[in-house]
Amino acid sequence: MSERVTFPRVLRSELTKLVSLRSTWFSLGGVVLLTVSLAGVVGYGIDHDGEPPADTTHAVAASFLPLDFLVLVVAVLGVLQMTGEYNGGAARATFAAVPRRWPVVLAKAGAFVAVTAPVMAVTAVASFLVCQAFLGDDGVSLGDPGVPGQVAGAAASTVLLGLLGLAVGTSLRHSAAAISTLVAVLFIVPVLLGPVLPGDREDDVLKFLPTVAGQAMYGSLGGADSPFPTLSAGASALVLVAWVAAALAAGTAVLVRRDV
């Protein structure tokens, strides 16, 4: 085939770029190590001086408590995948090679999923197994009803929030601005929105936030003792996918119009 730009080629290029940076492997390695070992700590804590989980969902969700926060590392990796283009001016070379630009965003998203999905799948399964091992008799097994879906939800939710980071980085292109915005969207807005909204609106709105939808995908929020209602895991996944698609579309629209 002749030498010209095709989407699979741009995807290959973006894979090369993502796996060739040490920061990719440092941050993903850190996420795996911390998430899995903290899952063990959570399991140990519950087993020694906590109340045993109320049901299967809670037992599984305990494994992913560390992921509620460590997802930020994955999301920052998504941000840096784009803002890193402006470090040293690589963006000039990238967008001169692919002047239509939108394939670059899609290819980055594809490369991000290709690299993070397997890593997060392993992380989710390992976190689950380690935490349940510490829970002993209170633990559940991977074969119990609903458990595989919850574990898959943990991995998928992390990858999707990472793509949200990529989208924010595409719109804002400065690492510091993009990361601050991301922290605000993921962790500050959900906390502030509750008190700001009138009591009855709160329950209608919060469940649609990316962080809430993401955590509902693995049962970390929701259930009878939840401070506010959440959507089902499936509906939450759809909500999060919609957020990611909208944010990527908005970022791409900004990127193709702006001067590099």
Partner: protein, 298 residues
Amino acid sequence: MIEVQELTKRYGDTLAVDALSFTVRPGQVTGFLGPNGAGKSTTMRMVVGLDRPTAGAVTVNGRPYRDHPDPLRQVGALLEAGSAHRGRRARTHLLALAQTHGIPRSRVDDVLAAVGLAAAARRRAGGYSLGMRQRLGIAAALLGDPDVVVLDEPVNGLDPDGVLWIRELLKGLAAEGRTVLVSSHLMSEMALTAEHLVVIGRGRLLADTTVDELIARAGVGGVLVRTPDATALRAALLATGAAVTSEERGTLLVTGAGAERIGDLARDNGLALHELTPRRASLEEAYMDLTREAVEYR
């Protein structure tokens, strides 16, 4: 071939490029000259679609850059030194660019060798010196074996060896029939490399001409002759059709005859010469003259 038509770029209140039109032809090195802030870089960025024109258009090989299915095979551009992620190895940086077009891996090694970075190919771009980053940028520009090469200030940061290398590289690319546009704010560098010149100032076209024409326009030049036989030499020179002026006793300023011809003429007539200095028309002066009005810091 690069065709720039009524190209305009406005940043807020600043008109960086103002209805600029010129054509860059294949087979020669075209120098793109202007004082700092004249709009050279902005124009070059619009050539490769990094900046959008406010008005007007620029086409490369007959089409807007974005509309080419194989942009790197059409135009190779060095816009600023490096343009690579600081944490990525030079070879990987080029490989990722090559992969967007399905350019073979072997070509990456070829261009790295061509720019003299073969031994440093596995080092991270962040550890490169300015000169090495320039070479990396040139390697990226050559990656697609492009018909058109656009280089913004390529000699910045290069040592004398590197400057000489760039000069030969540019001439070689033009001799292969490629279109070569190279910017500089140094007339002296362009005088040695370019055959054609596009001079801009404050975003407007000041001259689109050959180097020889610009020298002629400068109105200086000629040969300075000091001789005890001024009257006889003057008569002999006038007889050959040269023009002679004299600013002081015993010196002649001759135009229309080269130093060799004047020397031969003096010998044939048995006249003594004490000095014979070709006043190589100062291209620098011509350029300063042209851009004097257009120097502006903004």
